[in-house]
Symmetry: none
Subunit: 243 residues, 4 copies
């Protein structure tokens, strides 16, 4: 009913960077870098860890792999992190926030685009982001299955995504623009899973997968069809967002 919450960035960021901030703070107190140089080394380690995890997976990755990639010795690692899990948490926290962006476009009251166009734009944004981060997301999700702390991170992340999208669907249903028989939560979950995993499985950049534009188009169509998304009665005469 209301003219949409806020730019979702606003909602999304706090959630993630909240966790982020907490983690950093924690580390800072413990054994974080106290000098400029230290901070740089630490950043290099996080970057290296991400790359190594993407390449070899979490379990196969050795701490020395990470350290070496950061141009450090194996034991220097322990100046900054307590364990592999520890640095993975940092990697997760540093993940590009654009992963959770794009959904709000669908309902953006200022937009003059058709719902179809909006969904397409949103899908493109998300798939692009996921395609880029799919590998590390896979790692995080994998680890989350057997590591409590990572699971929390992952869940927070995923739930936020789902919550936003569920809200969008509800809004559309209320305006009579989406199939009212759909359960917003379950459907969102299913479609989110589809998007994320499809990107992870079939859109990895080095994969001989589908043409990206075609994939975006088809996934978009699935969304629109699945939601039975209709054009608002009077598309663009005047603002008609109350349905």
């Amino acid at each position: 009913m209301e003219p949409l919450p806020q730019p979702s960035q606003a909602t999304a960021s706090p959630a993630v960077s909240g966790a982020d901030a907490r983690l950093r703070a924690q580390r800072w107190d413990d054994d974080g870098p106290r000098s400029r140089r230290g901070a740089e080394t630490r950043a290099r380690l996080v970057e290296a860890a991400k790359a190594v995890f993407e390449e070899k997976g979490f379990h196969e990755a050795r701490i020395s792999d990470v350290a070496e990639r950061a141009g450090l010795t194996h034991s220097a690692f322990y100046h900054y992190f307590d364990s592999k899990e520890d640095i993975l948490r940092e990697v997760a926290a540093a993940l590009d926030h654009t992963l959770n962006a794009g959904v709000d476009i669908i309902l953006d009251p200022t937009s003059t685009a058709t719902p179809h166009e909006r969904v397409a734009a949103a899908m493109r944004t998300r798939l692009e982001a996921h395609r880029k981060e799919a590998r590390i997301m896979g790692v995080i999700e994998q680890v989350s299955r057997h590591n409590e702390q990572i699971r929390v991170l992952w869940t927070q992340f995923y739930q936020q995504h789902v919550k936003e999208m569920a809200h969008s669907i509800e809004q559309l249903q209320q305006r009579g623009l989406a199939d009212p028989a759909l359960d917003p939560v379950i459907v969102t979950d299913a479609l989110a899973v589809m998007t994320i995993r499809f990107a992870e499985q079939s859109l990895l950049q080095d994969d001989s997968g589908y043409d990206f534009d075609t994939a975006v188009e088809q996934i978009t169509r699935i969304y629109i069809n699945a939601l039975q998304l209709r054009e608002p009665k009077k598309p663009r005469r005047r603002r008609d967002d109350t349905g």
Copy 2:
């Protein structure tokens, strides 16, 4: 498996059960059990391995965990399998084939059910199977990322699933019963990913997830909507379509 109307079934099945047979034969020749007792022990090991992998994941699982759960010594394991990968292959090969069943229902020419009913039945079958096997599937998929032999198994498995479903969609499109703008392969891929992962993530039996029936209903609806599945013009004489 049941009588298979579609050709794809016919081609696909041998592929998988062929690999299956080969794997078993290989093992049998190599160091498989040569006595009744041995066969039982071997089976116990496979069962134990599945359970352990599901609980701890592949990397965290120790061979002794498997052996002990089967009531054996660590070293007895090596009478039957060469490595953890080896027994995982066996576990994968022994996976309930119902995982790949159900799709053909959709096109079954002998059926008098409406498309909606058919999809619902297929979805239920699949989701039930996946809900049961999701954990181990997750393990297999995880390992497949860094193990060639397992990847082959996984790919064969997944491809078969996708191929069958894509065929169904094409058939429906040709009969004018499904949205002709959809690319059967991409859409199948996306929807298959959705089903499998949704089951894996939100339907695990011990999970506080959704009500299963509701979930089936919603996923079914997504399918039907996504494909824009229509009733055939004159289904049978009369239909008292539930719905």
Copy 3:
């Protein structure tokens, strides 16, 4: 001075076959084969063991290698032998006795050949025997360094060889046919070592070593030179072996 001891075979055999007999008796009492078939299997095992030891060396050889080569299971081995050392003793005991033959030719009073010819004949016999058995001899000697029981066997074997030859040299020296400044024992030891090891190192049949005839000729020459072997004053007029 005496007309030479006996045909060395006579001396040699008791020594070796004595050990042999003792070993066999021992085994027979313990767990030797009690049936015809058993004896054959046992023989097959010994044969197999020799071959395996020659191929892989003692330490690298596995009991299962031996058993499999004999067409048996690994555990059947234990019906006949207690350990690898055990069967190696048997292999050693069964070694071709011709290894220790040939030396007596040098002094054979019935021979009409020149000393040069006799040495040549003896060398050829020995080198041929050693060339054939060098591999297994090497194994035995190697094991003898750290296994008391095998060391006894090896020493017996080697000492007998040396003793006979030393005797020959003494005889020749007494007849004024060999350099009197040589210490029969040390020289024999050195020359025996040379012969055995040269065969082992440079005459192995599958080796791209020297031409066998040339090698025999050269080794013979070394012997003759080293001993400063001279023709007896009246070579072949009549038997003059009493000196």
Copy 4:
């Protein structure tokens, strides 16, 4: 090594010490010690390995034996070497080079000693060296039979020895000082085998073997006799051949 009159020395030496240098360099680059303390530990390990191999042989030697003897944990070993073979290579490379010294004395043009004296000196040098290193040489040779890399080391080592000596014999033959009927290569091989193995078998320090001086004298005599070594035409006043 000393000033080398013969060309073979010149060519041969680089070959061996080249391999030597390469091996060391390789290790140094890989995982060699990078500190003073590390270098000492490494040296202690090599020393310990030599001792253990001599005592127990290569196969019987456990890595923990070596580590413990060096006062280290089992796993510390792996900071310096990759495997038992690896450290054996190091032990072999560190072998006293005097093993290959002495031969050149025989032809040394600056020497005023008689050939007999020269050979005696050379033999003494060699036998002393071999007596000291015989055990480890035996181990190396033993391992070389089934290990390619060690075989190369051993062969290089042995070939150099043989090549030098063969050159000496040829020179002597050309000057009419040695039996022209001898094949330099085969004879060298045989005599080298004799020397090395005799030392190994009968001169080990803890062995109840022969008196060392007597042994040297006898081996020397065998050499001189075998080569039919004559005094050069005007070496001393007149030939005073010990008959």
